[in-house]
């Protein structure tokens, strides 16, 4: 491996890992501005032009505040939990293809961190670890509100993970592969019967998409499913006892999770970086693919924000009922439907 190859690998892997947390800064501003727009008020508009410097100011505040560790906590786990949250959020993105495979100066560069054969399973493996960050925070805080938040979170994430995985199994069945680049590749072009419609999984699997996207809200602990931190009942849930940047890490993890969940939705159901009629060539094609991927992801991030400021929080029993009695059967029906489609396609 030459120096250039090594540099390319570093760029492929390290740059997304640095950009994701950096994206959170404007994202918090977007969330607050959109929230204000939905609620018919100005929103943060004092610090810098359009309030753009509000987020940097908040970050300086979070970093310089006193980091309080309450006396009766389990110190090691209390300090470990926030970093676990950020770790899980960041490492999920490693297998998501954010652009096409391009050839520049005789080198083949796939625009993905690591193109592994079990890509989608890896994503689910890492996201299932993110529950530890919340449960451990809840337990180690030695506080009843935190503990309740942690217990809720463990039950919620296990319940919705089931529906989410079953919905995503439909995509795997259609593509015949766990590899995310294969999943993007099979969504290129248009349907043979309807040449104007892109071959996105969204169209044949709209039920799977709905289940996946709704479950994504539960997995990222966003409203209307943010019961682990429901401030009306639990103060701040699992992160009640956290302060300064340890508290900030949970925010960071939540926003990275929103970006990753949006990117996964775009990849699994909306063709990732591909568009019908778009054949990437050279570095310009790579850049265009990256922009298409970013645009699709940004759209779903906006939907996440839009839903948060539109829907009220579910009650806990409603949340459980929705997960087990509605989403899980729907995802199973979707799987059956995709299996029928696959049989039909192979029998022709």
């Amino acid at each position: 491996m030459t120096l250039v190859d090594g540099a390319i690998v570093v760029l492929r892997v390290v740059v997304p890992a640095l950009i994701l947390p950096a994206l959170v800064i404007p994202l918090v501003w977007v969330e607050r501005r959109v929230a204000a727009f939905i609620q018919d008020r100005p929103g943060p508009n004092r610090v810098g032009p359009f309030g753009l410097l509000q987020s940097p100011a908040d970050i300086i505040k979070l970093f310089t505040k006193e980091d309080v560790v309450p006396a009766a906590t389990d110190k090691f786990l209390f300090l470990l939990a926030p970093s676990l949250a950020v770790f899980a959020a960041l490492s999920t993105f490693a297998v998501v293809p954010y652009g096409p495979t391009i050839r520049v100066a005789g080198k083949v560069i796939p625009m993905v961190g690591a193109d592994v054969s079990v890509g989608l399973l890896y994503v689910f493996a890492i996201t299932s670890l993110s529950v530890y960050a919340i449960v451990l925070a809840g337990w180690s805080s030695n506080d009843k509100f935190s503990l309740l938040g942690g217990i809720r979170s463990s039950a919620q994430i296990i319940s919705y993970e089931l529906a989410m995985t079953t919905a995503a199994a439909g995509v795997v069945l259609a593509a015949g592969s766990f590899r995310l680049t294969d999943i993007v590749a099979m969504q290129e072009g248009t349907f043979r019967l309807l040449p104007v419609v892109p071959r996105w999984n969204f169209f044949p699997q709209v039920i799977g998409f709905i289940v996946f996207f709704v479950s994504a809200f539960a997995e990222t602990n966003r409203l209307p499913f943010d019961l682990p931190e429901a401030e009306a009942e639990l103060v701040a849930g699992y992160h009640t006892e956290y302060s300064a940047m340890r508290f900030g890490s949970y925010f960071l993890a939540e926003y990275i999770n929103v970006i990753v969940a949006s990117a996964m939705t775009a990849t699994l159901y909306f063709g990732g970086w591909s568009l019908p009629g778009f054949h990437p060539e050279g570095w310009l094609g790579g850049l265009l693919g990256l922009l298409i991927f970013a645009a699709k992801t940004a759209f779903f991030v906006l939907v996440f924000i839009w839903v948060r400021w539109t829907l009220p929080r579910f009650r806990y029993d409603q949340l459980m009922r929705l997960g087990w009695k509605t989403l899980l059967p729907l995802s199973l029906a979707n799987l059956l439907w995709v299996a029928l489609l696959a049989i039909w396609r192979t029998s022709r």
């Binding site: 054969s117 079990v118 689910f124 493996a125 299932s128 529950v131 530890y132 463990s154 296990i158």
Partner: protein, 170 residues
């Protein structure tokens, strides 16, 4: 390099499994087991079985252990305290089984030769055993076993349900 990571991961898996048994606090025991599973997944990756590694994390660390944590936290089980009672019979039987197990392990290692299978460096990423092949095998050669296991799981599910219902009725 691979050998070094493999040995480190194996060591972590064994040490944390030991911590799981020795720990007095149930929550800490579950976490030690989670670390052990994680290290085990690393060894699976190095044994060219990324599919098994992913399942190891999803099913064991991600689902079963989280359920354990959920129950322990819900019932608020505290650390166990030694009750001061000596149990000579149990101690004797325990030590005996450790010796027997160690002997078995040594015998197996002798018989198969303790070395890493495969040639991790030479195999390209594409040549890795594919989840597709595993699925095909599971639904052809091992179909009977697969179905038998699913019936067993269903029976366990129904059994748990019946037990829970009886408790409620009283």
């Amino acid at each position: 390099m691979e050998r070094l990571i493999f040995d480190a991961a194996a060591l972590v898996a064994i040490v944390f499994a030991g911590l799981m048994v020795a720990g007095r606090d149930p929550i800490k025991s579950v976490l030690a087991l989670a670390v052990s599973f994680f290290a085990l997944a690393v060894t699976y990756v190095l044994l060219l079985a990324p599919f098994i590694a992913a399942l190891q994390i999803i099913v064991y660390a991600g689902a079963i252990l989280v359920l354990f944590l959920f129950l322990i936290m819900l019932l608020n089980v505290g650390p166990e305290r030694p009750d001061g009672v000596r149990r000579p019979v149990q101690t004797f039987l325990g030590s005996l089984s450790v010796v027997v197990f160690a002997g078995l392990l040594l015998g197996m290692l002798r018989a198969s030769g303790a070395r890493l299978p495969g040639q991790p460096e030479a195999v390209a990423a594409d040549a890795l055993p594919d989840p597709k092949a595993l699925g095909r095998l599971l639904f052809s050669d091992y179909l009977l076993h697969f179905e038998a296991v699913s019936v067993l799981l269903l029976a366990a599910l129904v059994g748990a349900f019946v037990l829970a219902r009886r408790e409620n009725a009283q």
